[in-house]
Symmetry: C2
Subunit: 346 residues, 2 copies
C-alpha cells in the first residue's frame, strides 16, 4: 500500500506530491513550494480525495507562513494566503477543517513570532498527516468486519491510499479485509470524467496484489443483476449532520442501483469528513469543474466543437440509501442524525 | 437530419458507410465490397445501432451474392456468407431479422438464377432501407405526442439518424417533436465506453440545430434530482415478447434512476426490433466486446497494464420500468406481453 505519495521535506522546504494526473502511466512528482503551488495542485487535482486534500492543506499553511516571512504585516499576508488555500475547492469539508485546525493552533499561541508558529505548525501538519493514516487504519478495522470472505466489493472513484495520507478510507476497508486473509475481489468503477477509478483505484489495488477489474460506470446495474457485487464501499467528501453523503458524481446512482438489488451500500470516511454545521445534504455546495475534463480524454477530443457539457463533480447520496457510515470511531448506523449528534457530543 | 450515411451505389457495386468510429472529429467513408467488409464494419462499429445494422445486413446479402458469383455451388457459398453476416453481432435482433427476410425472398423465388436473385434482392434491400426511414418517421409522430413543449429529454447512447437508415428511433422522436415546433432540449449521456452519446448523438442533434448538452453517464441521478430532465427516450437492440428491452449498457441504470425521480422512461424501436421468439429479457444474449474499448480512449490508455475490465455492451431494462414502447405502429403500454401478442397477431 502506497505511503510516500504525500511527502514533506523540511530541508528542501517543500511538499512532494505524486502527481495523480499522470497515473497510472507515469509516476511524476509535483513539488509545492508556495501557496500558489498548493492551490494549483488542489484545483487541477495533482492531489485529490478529501483526506489527502486536508493533509496537503495543513502542510500548505506551513508553506504559506514561510512565504509570508516575518516582516511587518506577515500576519495579514498569511491570513490572505490561508483563505486562498481554504477556498481552493468547495465541496470537501476536510480542506476547511484542516485550515481551521491550523488557525486554531495559531490562535492558541497568541502573539507568537513567525518562527514559533512555524515550528508549532510543522508539528501540527505532521500530526494531521499521522492522524489521517491512523484514522484510516481504524476505519479499515471497523469496516473489514462488514466484508465477508469471498465478497466482491464495488467502489466508485478513488477513496484509496492516494485519496488520503495512506491506507485509504473505502479502499482502506478493502485493504484491511485483505490483510485479515479474506479472499475478496474489487470492481473499480472507472469514474468519468476524471477516471479516478480506472486510473487510481485500479493502480493502487492492483499494486497491493488484490484482484481488481475495471468497469465502466454504466455497467453497475448489469453487474449487480448478475450477482457479481456483494458490497459497495465508497468514500465521502462531506457528510451532513443527517448522514447525507457528498461523494464523486455517480455515487448516488450506484446507491440507487444497489438498493434495487439489495446490495449493502457503505460510506467510509473519517469523523473529520462529517460536517455538523451542514444540516442536510442539499446544503452541500457542488463543485462545477472545467468542461475540458468531459470534452477530452488526455489530448483526445470526444465531443463535437461548440456542444456544451455538464461537469458537476459531486452528488449527494441520501442517508436512507446508506447501510452504515464507517468512521475511525466505529460504524454509524441509521438514524444518522442521532448517531452523528452523539459522536460530536463526546 | 442525416440521410446519406448509408448509401448503396449500384454502379460501383458497393455500400458506402459514414465511418462512425471517427465522428465527430472526421467524416470518413468506409466502402464495403465484400462479406468480410460488411462483417468488419458491423463488428468494429463502423456502423452500429440495431436498425442501421439491419439495413447494412440487407445490402450485405446482395454483396455476398455478387461475391458468390453464379458458378457451381454458388448457393452453398452464399448460405455460408449469409450466416457470417447474421452472426457478426449477437444482441440486436434486426441483424437476424434482415438476413431472414432476405432468405425468405430467396426461398420464395425457388430455384432462381443468381442474376434473378440479385435483381430481386437489390429491390428488397432498398425496401428495407426505405421502410426503416418510414418506420422512424411514423415512430417520431407517435412519440412526439409524449413530448411536451419545454421538455428536456435525456437519451442514452445513439438511437438517432446514425443508428438507423435515417431520422432515428429515440432521437427521431426528438426530431419530430422539434419539427412540430416544440421548444425542447436534449441531454446526451456520453455513453461509455464507445461514447456514442458524446460522439454521435451530440453530433447529429447539434447539426440539426437542437440545443444539446453532453453529460457523463455518472451525472444522471444529479441531473434528475435538479429537475433538469422531464423525459427519457432510448432505443433498443432487442425487445422480448414481455417488453423487456435490451439496449446499450447503462440504460438499465438510467431507468432505475428515472423511476426514483418519477421521470417517464420510454423505449422507441420499430416492430422489427421486437423478438416474439424471445419470451423474456434474461434470454437475450449480451455481447462481450474487446477490452480495448474500455482500456483506451483513442490511443490514450486509461487503465493500468494487466488490469482486466468488463465490457458487456448491453443490459436489459425490465418491462416494469418502461412507461411506453414507441413503435412505428403506435405506442405500446403495459402490460406488454398482451400488447406485443396483439401486435404480432395482426
Amino acid at each position: 500500500v502506497l505511503t510516500e505519495h504525500i511527502r514533506f521535506s523540511e530541508p528542501d522546504q517543500n511538499l512532494l506530491l505524486l502527481d495523480q494526473r499522470y497515473l497510472p502511466l507515469r509516476e511524476e512528482t509535483f513539488a509545492c513550494r508556495t501557496t500558489a503551488d498548493i492551490v494549483y495542485a488542489l484545483q487541477t487535482m495533482v492531489v485529490r480525495g478529501a483526506p489527502a486534500i486536508g493533509v496537503t492543506a495543513a502542510y500548505g499553511c506551513w508553506l504559506a507562513l514561510r512565504e509570508a516571512g516575518d516582516g511587518a504585516g506577515w500576519r495579514e499576508t498569511l491570513s490572505t494566503k490561508l483563505a486562498e488555500i481554504e477556498n481552493a475547492r468547495p465541496t470537501a469539508v476536510n480542506l476547511r477543517w484542516a485550515v481551521r485546525r491550523m488557525r486554531a493552533v495559531w490562535a492558541a499561541l497568541g502573539e507568537a513570532s513567525a518562527a514559533a508558529l512555524s515550528a508549532r505548525w510543522l508539528e501540527e501538519a505532521r500530526t494531521v498527516h499521522r492522524e489521517d493514516i491512523a484514522a484510516n487504519e481504524a476505519m479499515g478495522r471497523f469496516g473489514a468486519d462488514l466484508i465477508e470472505d469471498g465478497d466482491t466489493v464495488l467502489t466508485h472513484c478513488n477513496a484509496g491510499a492516494l485519496a488520503t495520507a495512506g491506507h485509504g478510507t473505502a479502499v482502506g476497508v478493502i485493504y484491511s479485509a485483505w490483510q485479515q486473509g479474506k479472499r475478496i475481489k474489487v470492481i473499480a468503477d472507472e469514474t468519468r470524467p476524471f477516471l479516478q477509478g480506472a486510473r487510481l483505484t485500479a493502480y493502487e489495488v492492483h499494486k497491493a496484489g488484490i484482484p481488481v477489474t475495471v468497469a465502466c460506470d454504466n455497467a453497475c446495474a448489469l453487474l449487480m443483476q448478475k450477482g457479481l457485487v456483494q458490497k459497495v464501499v465508497v468514500g465521502a467528501d462531506r457528510i451532513a449532520a443527517n448522514g447525507d453523503a457528498a461523494n464523486k458524481i455517480g455515487t448516488f446512482g450506484v446507491a440507487l442501483i444497489a438498493k434495487e438489488f439489495g446490495v449493502p451500500f457503505y460510506v467510509a470516511a473519517p469523523v473529520s469528513t462529517i460536517d455538523p454545521e451542514t444540516p442536510t445534504g442539499d446544503l452541500i455546495p457542488i463543485e462545477d469543474r472545467t468542461p475540458r475534463e468531459v470534452t477530452h480524454v488526455g489530448d483526445h477530443q470526444i465531443t463535437p466543437q461548440d456542444v456544451p457539457v455538464y461537469n458537476f463533480a459531486f452528488d449527494v447520496t441520501p442517508n436512507r440509501l446508506i447501510a452504515g457510515i464507517i468512521t475511525d470511531q466505529g460504524v454509524l448506523r441509521p438514524p444518522y442524525t442521532e448517531a452523528i449528534a452523539k459522536l460530536f457530543k463526546k
